[in-house]
């Protein structure tokens, strides 16, 4: 069992393997869906999966770092909403240049994240609570700005919203490109930079990381700043996507992001998993939703039940396969 792993040995094979299993299961899921609902495997439907979840992917990438370091960030959904709100207000009311707006919003997200990171590290507060309060704060600030939704009509944003980049017989939105770039950058950072490796070390054992002389304080603050910046960037993508700022945007997205990262093979206790897993996790969640939309006969409650059931089956198969793999290589409880 993950939380009760003896000697840490059981986990050995699992992270790498879990990621593979996720990918495999995703393909199975899509295959089964394709058989059941013709048209599901159409190229544009697959690309829609990316278009619709680009913002979630960006958030999940930021969340990956947080989770890899053994923390959690519940504020991402509301930071996203806050950035759409701030962007919309700046554009609509103050007519600030859109590029400046984007820069400001990113700085705001990173700043909020860094502040939470600093609280978590320097005051030894629990990430869950700090980011939960951060979630209330960001959402609350949205309402203070305005309780209405604000339309964005800035030409650049509209352009980004309308542009369709041809790809594989379909098209993707600029948001997808941004999200994939962010993912690629994150993979590089996680595996080839000192910062990335320190994140893993902190997740493995924070005290050890400190004793080994790693810059724990700086890294932890940076991790949450990154997550905040990713949430803000996701907000920008969301603004491209929706062309509006609204305090009720992206409610519950933090759970989606956490679920995506965990399904992608990361351990919430930190230290194990891959940033790339975020993509597979996001795609799994997106596929489940697409399947349900294609089915089109489920009532609201059946939708929930089916999502829950699919999640369960997914986790179950993942777990059983991973357990089998771990059993083959090393000892288990």
């Amino acid at each position: 069992m993950t939380t009760l792993a003896p000697r840490g040995r059981a986990l050995l094979a699992s992270p790498y393997f879990t990621s593979l299993v996720t990918l495999l299961l995703l393909l199975v899921l899509l295959g089964a869906g394709g058989v059941a609902y013709p048209g599901l495997l159409a190229p544009q439907v697959m690309l829609n999966l990316l278009i619709d979840n680009a913002f979630l992917l960006v958030i999940a990438v930021g969340m990956s770092f947080v989770i890899l370091s053994g923390g959690i960030d519940l504020s991402v959904g509301s930071v996203l909403a806050l950035s759409t709100m701030v962007a919309a207000t700046l554009l609509h009311k103050w007519h600030v240049h859109p590029l400046l707006v984007i820069a400001l919003v990113l700085a705001l997200g990173a700043g909020l994240g860094a502040a939470m990171g600093a609280l978590i590290h320097y005051f030894r507060l629990q990430p869950f609570i700090v980011t939960l309060a951060g979630m209330f704060l960001a959402r609350g600030l949205c309402y203070l700005i305005s309780i209405n939704s604000i339309t964005i009509d800035d030409p650049l944003f509209v352009l980004m919203s309308r542009t369709q980049l041809g790809f594989l017989g379909g098209y993707v939105s600029p948001g997808v490109v941004v999200a994939l770039l962010v993912l690629a950058l994150a993979i590089y950072v996680a595996h080839f930079t000192a910062f990335g490796r320190t994140v893993y070390a902190i997740g493995g054992n924070e005290q050890s990381a400190r004793m080994m002389g790693l810059p724990v304080a700086r890294t932890k603050v940076l991790i949450y700043a990154c997550s905040g910046a990713c949430a803000a960037l996701a907000g920008v993508l969301f603004a491209f996507y929706m062309l509006s700022g609204y305090g009720l945007h992206a409610q519950g997205t933090e759970l989606d992001a956490i679920a995506a990262v965990v399904i992608g093979g990361a351990l919430l206790t930190g230290g194990y998993g891959y940033v790339a897993g975020a993509l597979s996790g996001v795609l799994v969640l997106g596929t489940i939703q697409t399947l349900i939309a294609f089915d089109g006969t489920l009532s609201s409650w059946w939708t929930r039940i089916v999502i829950g059931a699919l999640l369960f089956i997914f986790c179950l198969v993942q777990r059983v396969l991973a357990m089998g793999a771990a059993g083959r290589t090393r000892s288990l409880p």
Binding site: G39, A42, Q44, V45, N48, I51, D52, F55, C142, Y143, I147, N148, S149, I150, T151, D153, V158, S161, R162, F238, Y241, M242, L243, S244, Y246, G247, L248, H249, A250, Q251, G252, G286, Q289, T290, I292, A293, F294, G296, T297, L298, S299, S300, W301, T303, R304
Partner: protein
């Protein structure tokens, strides 16, 4: 002929009202022989956009949806237009730059509902308390949601006409009974007997508040006049028991109308841009008579 295929994206199942709305649409589709693709968005706009994209990919004949929010629909509606799929809005409007992105909007007008509630109150007060000041407490819906904003606005517009009407407390009850009761308790403790009128943005909050009023030893509907919106069954029961004074109807039964319009749109018949549902105001006096007719 091939049956008509409608893709419908519902907000969610957050209230009885919404459920009644869903049932009405499903039933009407069945009756009209329409194939309905139903998608529940669980209160998230991004889910609705996803659903609409998947409807476009599935090449449905008509797309209909109750938008979670007003803004943010330009892009996806443009895609629908490019795919030559007509779009019908139900229940809530959208604000888009280009009106041709949707064919028509069927639904109630939240601001109007607020106004009606206000008007009824002004009339009522004329008879019962012709000259005293009227202290109103307000139970708002979820902060930021369209019905909450509009119902507040409509109501305020109307009562502004009479300076004796004052909203002394206004707090959100999240459209739920539990919250409505909790907030009302606090109002009662803070303002006590000063409260003359309760205006609740939906029936559920009003029902919760009625319990709080009773527990405080006051008589709901008598000591405190209660005005609410929606007209669900529970509200009628409360009115029959004399605990609620009036409910402004906000009809969820849009199904038959939607199917009719969808058929017209596909048949290229002209349809009006705005179709307001027929809605009434039900004061307590006619509740018992009206009760057997209620469907939700």
């Amino acid at each position: 002929a091939k049956p008509l295929v409608i893709g419908f994206s519902q907000v969610g199942a957050e209230s009885e009202w919404r459920t009644a709305n869903t049932v009405s649409i499903k039933d009407a589709a069945k009756k009209a022989g329409v194939t309905l693709k139903f998608a529940d968005a669980q209160q998230k706009q991004e889910n609705q956009v996803k659903a609409i994209r998947s409807f476009i990919a599935q090449k449905v004949d008509v797309i209909a949806f109750s938008p979670v929010v007003e803004s943010g629909w330009d892009t996806v509606l443009r895609e629908a237009k490019a795919a030559k799929i007509p779009v019908i809005l139900t229940d809530r409007a959208v604000s888009v730059t280009d009106d041709s992105l949707y064919v028509t909007f069927i639904g109630s007008d939240f601001v109007e509902e607020g106004r009606r509630a206000g008007k009824w109150l002004l009339e009522h007060a004329k008879n019962t308390a012709p000259d005293g000041t009227v202290n109103i407490v307000e139970l708002q819906g979820t902060v930021g949601s369209a019905p909450a904003i509009d119902r507040k606005k409509g109501f305020e517009d109307v009562i502004a006409a009479n300076p004796k009407f004052k909203v002394i407390r206004s707090q959100t009850g999240d459209f739920t009974r539990a919250k409505g009761k909790e907030v009302m308790e606090a109002f009662l403790k803070a303002e006590g007997k000063k409260i003359n009128v309760l205006y609740a943005h939906n029936d559920d909050m009003a029902i919760g508040a009625i319990q709080a009023i009773e527990e405080a030893g006051l008589k709901p509907g008598v000591d405190i006049t209660i005005v609410s919106i929606d007209g669900v069954k529970g509200a009628f029961e409360a009115m029959i028991a004399g605990k609620l004074n009036v409910t402004v109807e906000c009809s969820p039964l849009l199904g038959p109308q939607l199917m009719q319009i969808a058929a017209d749109v596909v048949a290229a018949k002209p349809v009006p841009k705005r179709i307001t549902t027929q809605e009434g105001v039900f004061p307590a006096e006619i509740a018992a008579r009206e009760f057997p007719n209620r469907k939700y």
